[in-house]
Amino acid sequence: MIILVILIPIIAGIFVPLLHFKKRSHMEIFLECAVVLNSILVWYLLLHHSDSTFLLAHFTGDLSISFKVDGMGMVFAGLVSSLWPFATLYAFEYMTKEEHEKIFFLFYTMTYGITLGISLAANLLTMYFFYELLTLVTVPLVMHTLTREAILASRKYLYYSLGGAAFAFIGLIMIIIYGTTTDFILGGVLDLTKIGDRTNVLLFIYVMAFMGFGVKAAVCPFNSWLPDAGVAPTPVTALLHAVAVVKSGAFAIIRLTYYSFGVDFLKGTWAQTTVMLIVMFTIVYGCSRAVKETHLKRRLAYSTISNLSYILFGVTIMTPLGMVGALTHLIFHAVIKISSFFCAGAIIHQTDKQYVHELDGMGYKMPCVFGIFTVSALALMGVPGLAGFISKWNLASAAVESGNPVAYFGIACLLVSALLTAIYMLTIVVRAFFPGKDFDYGKLKDVRDPNWKMLLPLFVFTFFIIAFGLHSQPLTDFFNDVAAGLYTF
């Protein structure tokens, strides 16, 4: 059953260029149905979680490719499968202005299946395998427009990702040697008797694997692929580089820390301090670069870099509350950022304007898009009543609870970043709605809101941002259960 949800999107994607569709709308319907069907199947799986592991292939010893549904997997798979139908709908409208749609949708839909493979992986080897596949299947998406910029960006992405995966591979090997199993077990699988006094070696390997997976999670100094990937069509940047790819990196780090190495082994060591300092730096660095950046999508890309490190900050606190904070921000940031990117995409689609200073006064001409952008800006800043406040609250509570002075400093980093976020997001909003009394509105004559295929996802996301902001307790309770190990099998 599990394998179905992974295979369906891959097969559907492959069929897109093979089948001959009489009208474009037939292709749209085919794809959307496939994606929605798959999402429904995923949710069915999550709600009726069976504790069986599905073994796909067996290599030597106890190395295998297998899948299972546990708490963490539920969180990520739930997120991805909820967002994908909307993203596909949005992409249909967006891609009317681009070429080579069929190839695009081939890889776009295959990515869905592969991301699910990452989330439902039962052991480190499977996750690593799908992680590499994810890189391979998303490179053509980054390269889609085939401009020189796009080709360079996709090359950079490829090299960074493969390089990162190589470091992560070393981590995998160490787990195989020093762990009892490669399976994901909350609390870690390391066999302390085998390690003996080689603790420092293992800590070093942990930091390397963290940075390796951290490439995809855009940790400093391996983050420069992400802003460059902003050259891809917006559905790619939005879904992949705000949700699927980068969150896979964060997800992998959570698995590595809590389920493979185990926090009892890592907490209080120099490794924890090192990774915590690295992510704290990234939090502030990402936001600072975002303030200076004038290209809208690149600005949002830097914002993503910073916010991913919020999630990783929660992970590096290495307590159950830290995991709760990390998971909260994983979900909430994904929704907020995909909403922001889709607004940016709508603006580009309708007006071809890509730079922040070209957006003056557009607030009145595209009120829906800019209204939704304002909501996501406020949510990203952490205004109470919207989702971002709750995730920041959970992260900060975890940091305060931990008693770790470095973590206290981390809270300060979070708040500095909140201020910088306000600066780089609200200046866009203020310019759009308050362009100044000398502004010539005649320049914006043909600007209007996009059609329903783009607006519907935006409205749905905004609804969830507000709903999560006001009523997040059930989700937080669920995360607390996941962190306490209630959903491991």
């Binding site: 800043m381 909140a418 201020l419 609200l426 203020v430």
Partner: protein
């Protein structure tokens, strides 16, 4: 309980309604421009514009008065009732409670807001996009009420952030590049302050059982062991809320924002919105941390130093400032730190003086800004040195200015004198080593400087000198819409000084040290 909700959300809903309902006759011209134009099209538009404008003003005025009635009704009917609106998370309720501090702040807000609101009916003829102004003005009114009635720290913080976001459009209203930059400066300074306060809130949350405002503080037993980080958090919170309250070192947004905002907005900004920062500090120090935790610590000392620096610095900068509204802005910076000084001293008399000064300064500063607005509206002049002889042209207005200036300086029988008296007594009785006498000294010096920066306008205005050209004088008293609010607030500030007993006794009861 519904009265509380209504007093908060009614003006917000009406304001939002103003913003959403678009008018199709928005031109870039002001009412005064079109009135004097000879263009036939404009003439036709003038009549329908006038009608539309009258409808707008009627709706706005009614909204003010209704909100005022709702606030008073809520105060009378819903005192001391804890009302939880909903739970943001299981442990963070959004709740409201009207206690005495809330009554004090909300009554002052009400009076100043309504007066400045009616003043703006006349003043805004001189600006465009009035509907947007009144929309945000009403929204801020609702948010201010929510702030006064907030029952716990989370509710307070939520509306504190809302206050910043919704009052920024008032600052940048006239749309010039300068005002947009000033609006953004205000926004980012205030957000910086809010985030600094949030830092403190996270730590309080760990060390308390509840965030509900309780006299004497809510820290629990574990706070003793955490006192190091908690004191740092307290200091950061004071600095953060102090941004809004114009305390050094983050006061710089005030002198930038006030000159560019429309005068009634400046009045409200100085008299009421910054008091939101003061209210925040009152709540934090007296109702969350509790004086027993903070008294005698380095936090109190540092706070006292900062407030005294601000008092002196604000007055000095005001003394040297030639633009009238900027001068009044520096004056606000200084005067707010009088209040903060009283709060920092943590004795009954000093806190009484501080809270009384909240009331007195609110009325006085609002009057001062409205007078400045009246002057700008009738003469277009913004600098003090251009205003010789203005007293002959606008006698009533300048008389009101003079009376409230005396109040700010601290001359009996005005309200400002009483509050300064209590501040000084409280300081001298406090027993804190250097500050008990340093405080009154600086307050006196600042009073001198206050006379120096406020009275020249009066003197030059009424007695322009032998070499002044009296033939240029015109009778320029502004209309009733402007003079009546000014008069009302002047009278109130004097009444507080003449009959302080009731209010002082009431405040002293509230202040439990």
């Amino acid at each position: 309980m519904y009265l509380i909700l209504l007093s908060i959300f009614f003006p917000i809903v009406v304001g939002v309604g103003f913003l959403i309902v678009s008018s199709d006759k928005e031109t870039g011209k002001t009412i005064s421009d079109t009135c004097y134009s000879s263009n036939l099209e404009d003439r036709g538009a003038v009549e329908s514009n006038k009608q539309a404008r009258n409808h707008l003003l009627l709706a706005t005025g009614t909204a003010y008065l209704l909100t005022g009635i709702l606030v008073i009704a809520a105060i009378i009917a819903a005192r001391d009732e804890d009302f939880i609106l909903f739970y943001l998370t299981k442990a963070l309720p959004i709740c409201f409670r009207i206690d005495e501090i809330g009554v004090l702040f909300s009554v002052m807000t009400l009076i100043v807001y309504v007066c400045a609101g009616f003043f703006s009916f006349e003043y805004m003829k001189h600006e465009t996009k009035e509907k947007r102004y009144y929309g945000f003005y009403l929204i801020v009114f609702g948010v201010l009420n929510a702030l006064c009635f907030a029952g716990n720290l989370i509710t307070f913080y939520l509306f504190f952030e809302m206050l910043t976001l919704t009052s920024m459009p008032l600052v940048l209203h006239n749309g010039s590049h300068k005002s947009i930059m000033a609006g953004l400066k205000y926004l980012f300074y205030s957000l910086c302050g809010a985030y600094m306060a949030l830092f403190g809130i996270y730590f309080i949350w760990k060390n308390s059982d509840t965030l509900t405002f309780t006299a004497g503080g809510v820290l629990n037993a574990s706070a003793g062991s955490q006192s190091g980080i908690l004191l740092i958090a307290a200091f950061v919170m004071l600095l953060g809320f102090g941004v809004k309250a114009g305390m050094f070192p983050m006061h710089a947004w005030l002198p930038t924002a006030h000159p560019v905002a429309p005068a009634p907005a400046s009045a409200v900004l100085s008299a009421v919105i910054v008091k939101g920062g003061v209210l925040a500090i009152v709540r934090t120090v007296y109702y969350i941390y509790g004086t027993s935790f903070l008294r005698g610590t380095w936090v109190q000392t540092a706070w006292l130093i900062l407030t005294l620096i601000t008092v002196f610095m604000g007055s000095m900068l005001a003394y040297r400032e030639p633009v009238l509204k900027k001068r009044l802005a520096y004056s606000t910076v200084s005067q707010l730190s009088y209040i903060l000084f009283g709060l920092a001293m943590m004795t009954t008399s000093s806190v009484t003086g501080g809270l009384l000064h909240v009331l007195a300064h609110g009325f006085i500063k609002a009057t001062l800004f409205l007078v400045a607005g009246a002057i700008i509206y009738t003469t277009g002049k913004t600098r003090v040195d251009e205003l010789r002889g203005i007293g002959k042209e606008m006698p009533l207005t300048l008389w009101c200015y003079t009376i409230v200036s005396l109040g700010l300086i601290g001359i009996p029988p005005t309200g400002g004198f009483i509050s300064k008296w209590y501040l000084a007594i409280g300081s001298l009785n406090s027993g804190i080593p250097v500050f008990c006498w340093l405080g009154p000294v600086i307050l006196l010096v600042s009073a001198l400087l206050t006379a120096g920066y406020l009275l020249p306008l009066t003197i030059q205005g009424f007695l322009p000198g032998a070499d002044y050209d009296y033939t240029h004088l015109r009778k320029r008293e502004p209309s009733l819409w402007m003079t009546v609010p000014i008069l009302i607030m002047t009278i109130l500030s004097v009444l507080i000084g003449l009959f302080p007993g009731v209010i002082v006794d009431w405040i002293m009861e509230v202040v439990t040290i």
